[in-house]
Amino acid sequence: MKFTYRTKDRLIRTFILGMLGVLIFAYYQIEISKYPYANYKVAVALFKKHDAELNEAVILVRAGILTDYVQYDGVISALAGLYDVVDMFKKSLEQHPNVKLATQLSKLEKMLNEEDRLITEFNRLNPILSNATHDFSVLMVDIIESATQTNIVEQFSIRDYNPEHYEFINKINELFRNVLIYTGGTQNEALYLPLIVTLLESIKNNPLKSGFPKLDLAIKYAETILDSQQKITAVFKKLLSISTITELDKLATSYGKLEAISKTKANLYRYVFYVLSVLLLTIIHFAFKRLQNVVHQLDETNQQLEQRVIQRTQDLANKNEDLNKAVIELHETQDQLIIQEKMASVGMLTTGIAHEIKNPLNFINNFSELSNSLSLEFKTLLEKEKSHISEPVYTELYELSSDIESNCKKIKEYGTRADNIVNSMLLHSKESSIQKEKTKIRPLIENAVKLAIHNYKTQNPSFDVSLKMDFDPHLTYILASPSSLSQAFVFILSNACWALDEKLKLEKLKSKTSFSPLIRITTQKKEDNIILTFFDNGIGIPEKNLTKVFEPFFTTRPTGFGNIGLGLSICYDIITKQHKGTFSVASTEGDYTEFTITLSITQQDHA
């Protein structure tokens, strides 16, 4: 049978409660519910004391030791005491009924009632006896005294000495003695009673009796004495034969047995109590331990859960981040694609225009050169023909040819410039025609730096910049076109120089001298890629222009000084199209600009 956790718990609780109940019960049995007749010994002792007092008082009364003022109070109070004790027993039995004890007690009470009856009779007979004895004695002394005196007188007269009379007096004397000796009882009766009865009869029937008027009363007292002595001795014997103590001892034994049983029971309950206490404590101990374990487990689980939640949250955050990144990448890619597409179309357009312009421009250039040489020929011819020509005409012609010559030079000059532009534009079209080779990246950059800065310095001699270059030592070679890459680097660096210079000028205007221009170049190998960064703390690029910097013909620099806004656009083409890398810019206006170039070291062509 399988229990659920809850049922088990309930069972254990019920068990503990049950045990507590048994404990209380046992405790009640041991300590609170005491032996109900605990004081029976006192009562028994009291009973024995009163019994002894009663016996003493009865014997004192019987033996006539308490004369003159006979005290029955001793007998009565002892008896009352005995009844009191019985009442105590009864009372305690009323509170805690017990059939056996009640039966024994009723026996004892019956015996006590019998004793009471006998004592009442004893007490009734006793004054009769004592009064009769007293009166008899007084009378007899009186009679004998008077008779003896008469006798003496008669003896002196001697005339009629009466031996019968003398004998009668003797008989009276004998009766007096015998009656007083007589105390009743079997032996006494056998010994004296016949004698006394004979004496009484002979005195009663003696005619001399009439000479003693008080004798009748004395005989009556004597009879009373005999009668009450007999009775009182019988009662006395009976009284002494009643053994209330034997009955009491039986009762006490029963009480004792009950007490012993009660003690044994209490001891048993005590053992039960101890054992259960220990058991309960043990159970409580284990329950505590279990509780502690459970709490501990709960804590652990809690911690695990918390950790899991943290983990999940972290995971979720990571995923979210990844997703965000992906989205950003997507956006970037999208932007890149858009830019690439835009670049491609713009490039195509540029290339197209360049091609179309190239030819007419060639004509212009060539014909301007031709015109120039023609003009030179014209001059030479004019020199030869100087003599033939008048001075003013000559001067005029010379001046005209000089003008033509200078015009042609101008045409040539601007034509060349346009040609340069067109050539630059045509750079866009050099897409896959480049030759890639294993190139050392470090010297490539260093040369580009030298070239760019030197170039810039020649135009602006006051410019100075501190350089920081940080090359990844693991990175040595890359597969690339060194010339085009170098060109791109120069474009970027000259832009940086310009930005730094602009900033320098601005700072000077604000008369701040704390600014020190810095260009930092790092290379870093990451997996199969090389990451190049070009950092300058120049004027930076306004945010609105950030998307436009790679567009051809976009420039913020003043036009007309060869700044046609194609530099970054060409760089972009070099890196993205020729080298299949990425080219991005990050900048804050007035603070810094950083270009980042990522190139594949192995340069696998996707095409």
Binding site: L20, I24, Y27, E31, I32, K34, P36, Y37, A38, N39, V42, A43, L46, D68, Y69, V70, Q71, Y72, D73, G74, I76, S77, A80, G81, Y83, D84, V85, M88, K91, S92, Q95, R117, T120, E121, N123, R124, N126, P127, I128, S130, N131, A132, H134, D135, L217, K220, Y221, T224, L280, I284, A287, F288
Partner: protein, 309 residues
Amino acid sequence: MQLIKGLVFLLVCSLGLLVSNQPVFSSELDFRPITPIPPNPIPTEAEQKNIALGKKLFNDTRLSASKQACGTCHSFKTGGHSTSPPNTVAIPTIFNARYNFKQFWNARARTLKEAVKISLLSPDMVNFDPKRLDQLIEAGEYPRDMDFNTLVNALTAYVKTLTTPGSRFDQYLLGNVSALNENEKKGYELFKNYGCISCHQGRLVGGNIVEKLGIYKEDYFKSKPQIQPFDLGYYQVTHNPKDKFVFKVPSLRNIALRSPYLHDGGIKDLDKVVELMAISQLGHPTIPQEDVKLIVQFLYTLTGQIPKP
């Protein structure tokens, strides 16, 4: 928490120990083998309440179906008793009743409480009616918790206070020799010499044994036209022929106030009773009138201070 609860429980249990059972037994032995009547002990407050309640009950005729109170018959003016109707047993005095060894003429009640119960329930006496008690309790006359038992206890407590200490004879016994005059002292001597003292002794000058009326002569009953059941005395209790005409020896305290005398109130004159006692109880053929007078004079000294009703 469980452990603390357990400890608290054990503590409460051990407190139970302090409330242990009081002993069931107690003993109140009232035995003083002295002759004078002792003054009543001063009651405690609780006892006083009980006694006051008993006093009220003692005189309350409303409790009886026959409009009788204890005080109706046990009049304080006539020594705690009164004349009973003819052919009924004489009403014994209630004064000093607590010192009688048993109660009633035929000694049928072992204790005073028992006597009170019998007196209450007997139709010839108070004829107690429980319904009337209930009505009185309803009317607020008696406490709500009163029942027959508490009523008996209160009455018993009150009756116990009705003692008459301080008689001249008691003063004499206590050492005041001049409390009795010469005649009275002579009377006491005669009382002793005649043997009256053999039965009339102890604190109550009687009242602690039973004795047959007519030890030497049963003339008293022979002269009665009809023997009533109550004339049989102690026989009514034991049904032993020996106990016919046996009665409790009455106390002689306040005897001067308590005419008529004997169990049936048959003799009104104290002299006559003394004479009867001398003849039928002590066997004397006659008794000189001077002796009777002296004894009666002595008996008059036994009158103590009657309690206030």
